[in-house]
Amino acid sequence: MSTLERLKKLLSDVYDGEMDTSGITEDSELVKDIGMKSIAMLYMAMAIEGEFGVNLTNEDLPKMRTVGDIVKMIDERM
């Protein structure tokens, strides 16, 4: 499974299956398109650490603007 697919699965779990992740692409913006608030961003970052075994820092979070940014960040560190 690609990083994007795994990330979409994670998003689906975080939103309890209520989110239709089929339309999510690497260009989807986390705040504008997915509607993530700060607490969801933080939780998502923690979930990414658990799922992919990567370490994220305070400097990384503001750089996570689109889904593609996260995919790139994960792929670079795995």
Partner: protein, 240 residues
């Protein structure tokens, strides 16, 4: 080996206590002053006592700047404090606060580094005190609770210990801390990874647990004929 067994092993090591010596000195002296000034009393909601060896997230209402010091004195464990921006940056004040166990966390950003530090402290078997309402509420009433407490306790896998603390009991402004029963979030949500909806529900549950402690506090002071100088129950009546 269970976490509490591991913690027991670690606590037998004298090096652990030497490490905390700089933290214990102010705790001892400030504790002496607090014990004389506020004569803080600890009461428990039930006979079930918190695990002596496990780390825990202590959540409390925040009605006075002295709350962390009172709780640090009266709870029978070394406590770390989630101190917001107060314990961030450089300077003597920050060094002093960190030395006393304060962990800085920036509430204006998603401070994942601060959360990681806090989670590690609890995983190592310590208490971490936080005020989940986020800021000081002078009347002591519990209002909106933030979800950060749930995220941290879930990540650390430690129990949550709710406490209601208020000073200002008539007779030299004595303080009383009512300690609730500790509980694990996993008892209320059996998923490996809770969803945002689960987190919101668990946050509401934290508020309920804190309200339980608040009710027990007032039941206790009524049963023991204690009076508060500024009783929020009277102010509530006046406002209505």
């Amino acid at each position: 080996m269970a976490t509490s067994d591991k913690t027991k092993e670690i606590k037998k090591d004298p090096a652990v206590h030497i490490k905390f010596f700089p933290m214990d000195i102010p705790r001892f002296f400030v504790g002496m002053i607090i014990r004389i000034w506020y004569r803080p009393k600890l009461a428990y909601i039930s006979d079930k006592r918190p695990d002596k060896h496990s780390g825990a997230l202590v959540i409390a209402n925040h009605s006075s700047f002295s709350d962390p010091i009172i709780l640090g004195t009266v709870l029978p464990r070394r406590i770390y404090y989630l101190a917001g921006e107060l314990a961030m940056g450089k300077g003597l004040k920050t060094v002093g606060l960190r030395g006393c166990g304060c962990i800085g966390i920036d509430r204006n950003i998603s401070d994942i580094d601060g959360i990681r530090k806090s989670v590690n402290v609890m995983k190592r078997g310590h208490y971490l005190l936080m005020f989940p309402q986020g800021s000081l509420k002078r009347d002591g009433q519990i209002r909106e609770i933030k979800s950060g407490a749930v995220l941290m306790a879930w990540q650390a896998g430690v129990p949550i210990l709710p406490v209601y603390v208020k000073k200002g009991l008539k007779g030299f402004h004595r303080a009383l801390a009512m300690v609730g029963e500790e509980f694990y979030l996993s008892d209320y949500c059996d998923k490996k990874m809770p969803s945002m909806k689960d987190i919101a529900n668990l946050t509401d549950m934290l508020a309920l647990k804190m309200h339980e402690c608040e009710r027990a506090y007032f039941d206790y002071i009524d049963a023991h004929n204690m009076k508060l100088v500024n009783d929020p129950r009277n102010q509530k009546g006046e406002n209505e």
